[in-house]
């Protein structure tokens, strides 16, 4: 099961949405470790605008789950101090689009404490934030900011694509001795979304990855998962786009191997190499804007490590280099049609 640690064979499972599995991961870790504390804007009494921390204050007390002032830099800055003290803060930024005020504390502080103090001080903290569009949130509730973290040395960057992974990865992130940026694709909080916005919403209860083990388990950071095995082309993707890629493979009938990266830094280059060397073709998909997106790094790595195996140029399907528009959301979103086109095109080469 994707290398997950500690799941007893007979673990009971439960149907959970991604919101519920994230909440459950918090609950499990707060129960196991008194040092885990949770805070963020509206994250205490109310339990977060997406309800990912609902009930934690009631269960663990106000001193372990509380509301924070609307100050993303303050939230992360205070968390850095707490982490240095020995706590394990797991904080929420309400939308990734609002993480910029916290960027300095993440880049200049959290990411660097260990290195600059030569290991004397460390910063085990998790910064959670919802990313991505598809909810008519306009340009300030839709951004995908992963590449702004993958360029930062000293932080790990994680993005799950389903409730099962979300819980296991979040637990691993909380246990990690270093700062982890945990990006939650909000469009799939309540159900997998393959880009067919015109079709009825499917809930996680209808999806196998919506069956989530109770209790503790961790999915190691740095390990990709193969969401679909295939022989013709490798698709590298993560988050919501995993589901779009799967739909496109189905719809085009192209036998794509869809790799769900799960962790962007550290990256599972081994899995990528193995797949691309097998298929000889690679399409990269992300929702973030194209230029200097994480797809650029993936493309560079693939051609550096698999150059002589490539039968066609590596392609990127991404959000356009414009702000995420409100009304034109579905023109912007790299849906199954665009992904399908890329798959078809790469097979023509």
């Amino acid at each position: 099961m994707d290398g997950a640690r500690d799941i007893k064979m007979n673990s009971k499972t439960k149907s959970m949405s991604m919101i519920e599995s994230i909440r459950d991961a918090h609950d499990v870790m707060m129960g196991r470790d008194d040092n885990v504390v949770v805070f963020g804007e509206d994250a205490g009494f109310f339990g977060g605008v997406f309800r990912c921390t609902e009930g934690l204050q009631q269960k663990y007390g106000k001193h372990r789950a509380f509301d924070a002032p609307i100050s993303e830099s303050g939230i992360v800055g205070a968390a850095v101090g707490m982490a240095a003290y020995g706590l394990k803060p797991c904080v929420e930024i309400q939308f990734a689009d609002y993480m910029y005020p916290a960027y300095d504390q993440i880049v200049s502080e959290a990411a660097r404490l260990r290195h600059r103090s030569n290991g004397e001080f460390t910063c085990p903290l998790v910064v959670r934030m919802p990313v991505g569009g598809g909810i008519f949130g306009g340009q300030t509730h839709s951004q995908s900011v992963e590449a702004l973290f993958t360029h930062v040395v000293g932080v790990k960057t994680v993005m799950p694509s389903n409730p099962y992974d979300a819980k296991g990865l979040l637990i691993a992130a909380i246990e990690d001795p270093d700062p982890v940026i945990f990006l939650e694709p909000k469009r799939i909080y309540n159900g997998p979304f393959d880009g067919h916005y015109e079709r009825p919403v499917v809930p996680w209860s209808k999806h196998e990855k919506g069956m989530v083990p109770e209790g503790y388990y961790a999915i190691p950071l740095g390990k990709a998962a193969i969401a679909r095995e295939g022989r013709e082309v490798t698709v590298l993707t993560y988050g919501t786009m995993v589901h779009v890629a799967l739909a496109a493979a189905e719809e085009t009938g192209i036998d794509a191997e869809v790799i769900d990266l799960r962790t962007l830094v550290p990256l599972d280059l081994e899995a990528i190499e193995a797949s691309v060397k097998k298929t000889g073709r690679c399409v990269i998909i992300h929702e973030a804007t194209r230029t200097s997106g994480f797809g650029a790094e993936l493309s560079a790595l693939v051609q550096e490590s698999c150059f002589y195996h490539l039968e066609a140029p590596v392609l990127r399907v991404t959000g356009y280099d414009t702000p995420y528009p409100h009304a034109q959301e579905w023109d912007y979103f790299p849906g199954p049609a665009r992904v399908g086109e890329a798959l078809t095109k790469i097979m023509e080469n």
Partner: protein, 423 residues
């Protein structure tokens, strides 16, 4: 003179009890009886009105008191009282009532799925309206999403606002922006950011520009109680204080951020108005539901700005009577009937009372006017909807439009992407 023990620093743990974390909590939660006894309210007319060229330190107390003009009968009292012309009052009442009718209609439209989102100003209407009435053409407001009053006070066409909310063919922003994040340059209404607090410092920068050029325009900045915790509240205050920018820095304390009350932003331990003191900015705390107080304080601040006397910081005390937005459900975190117990009342009722007292308004005309405005909004909304709504556009917007206005001139990579799109 105290006697000091040389090994004070050796004090052992046992000398002190364990520490514990204080997390502010509102007085009441769902199910509780509303209680606003913590809101410090000065008697009507009790606060002195200082000269315009006063220093922050001279009027420290005004940051802790509350400027109030209308007594419980709607009668103006004290130094801040102005006998406003009937015309201004009518204008103000009309604007406030139209906002309320507009909000109601737009809430309904959102619930009907005609737009993605909406935010009301219910209970706070007096503030933006009162301030706009002291401003001049050419001045620039840097509002948040709850200052539709700045537009209504100018009789700005509601149609232009509605089409933005519907993201339809006539939306001046071409569907780019979330509803209510208006941009109307001609009306002195700066493009609203979705990011909180960023525009406070921009308002200061804009005002500095006017001073740099030797112009006469002033700016107004707007922020909510919750957002004062953000960085750019501070940078705005620092720059305004240092360069004495001609700007009015407004802080609308409506007691709530989304689900967190003002204590989480620091309102438990001091007044927000007192934040201004440390920046050397003369600071007022004002009853934001008292139109006469709003007008008088705004005018005092505008006069200071225009006479190059620098910024003024004003905390408007009011109450967010409605949900934060259409995505919010306040019954989860506060008593349902809170607003009914809000000690500063309803700004529309209070202005109505004053006007009736002055003899040029009546309950009947009020009811009539209300019906008229609700009608106006219904008719205008229907017209606006005829240009399309978010999910039922009249004409399909060309996806190519999103590439426009990223830059003044479209660079090659955007042209390529637009081509890839095949449009």
């Amino acid at each position: 003179m105290g006697r000091e023990n040389s090994d004070m620093q050796q004090a052992t743990d046992k000398d002190y009890p364990p520490l514990n974390l204080h997390v502010p909590e509102p007085k009441t939660r769902p199910g509780d009886k509303p209680d606003f006894s913590h809101i410090k309210i000065s008697p009507v007319g009790a606060v002195a009105k200082p000269e315009h060229d006063v220093s922050a330190q001279d009027i420290k107390d005004l940051a802790f008191e509350m400027v109030r003009v209308m007594d419980e009968h709607g009668k103006p009292q004290g130094e801040w009282a102005l006998e406003l012309d009937e015309e201004i009052l009518r204008k103000a009442l009309r604007a406030m009532m139209r906002i309320r009718a507009f909000d109601k209609r737009m809430m309904r439209a959102q619930r009907q799925g005609k737009s993605s989102f909406y935010m009301q100003a219910l209970g706070e209407e007096a503030i933006a309206v009162g301030q706009q009435l002291v401003l001049q053409k050419g001045d620039m407001n840097f509002p948040t999403y709850r200052q539709q009053g700045l537009l209504f006070a100018q009789d700005f066409p509601v149609m232009d606002m509605m089409v933005q909310i519907y993201s339809n063919d006539k939306d001046n922003l071409g569907g780019r922006q979330l509803p209510v994040l208006y941009s109307f340059k001609q009306a002195g209404h700066f493009t609203i950011s979705g990011n909180l607090a960023t525009q406070y410092i921009q308002a200061v920068g804009w005002a500095m520009a006017s001073a740099i050029k030797g112009d006469r325009k002033i700016a107004t900045g707007w922020i909510g109680d919750g957002s004062t915790a953000e960085n750019d509240f501070h940078s705005g205050m620092v720059f305004a204080g240092v360069y004495r920018a001609p700007v009015i820095l407004n802080l609308v304390n409506n007691q709530w951020a989304i689900s967190s009350f003002q204590g989480i932003a620091g309102g438990e331990v001091s007044t927000f108005a007192s934040r201004g003191l440390g920046y050397g900015i003369p600071s007022l705390r004002v009853d934001g539901n008292d139109f006469l107080a709003v007008y008088a304080a705004s005018q005092w601040a505008a006069e200071r700005a225009r006479r190059n006397l620098g910024p003024t910081f004003i905390e408007w005390v009011t109450y967010r009577a409605s949900a934060h937005s259409t995505s919010d459900d306040p019954s989860k975190y506060r008593p349902k009937d809170d607003w009914e117990h809000w000690p500063l009342g309803d700004p529309i009722e209070r202005l109505k009372q004053h006007m009736i007292l002055r003899g040029f308004w009546s309950e009947e005309r009020h009811i009539q006017a209300q019906a008229e405005y609700e009608d106006e909004m219904r008719v205008t909304a229907e017209k606006a909807e005829s240009y399309g709504t978010l999910h039922a556009p009249k004409t399909k917007r060309s996806p190519a439009e999103m590439f426009e206005n990223v830059f003044a001139d479209m660079p090659p990579h955007l042209r390529r992407q637009r081509q890839e799109m095949g449009v």
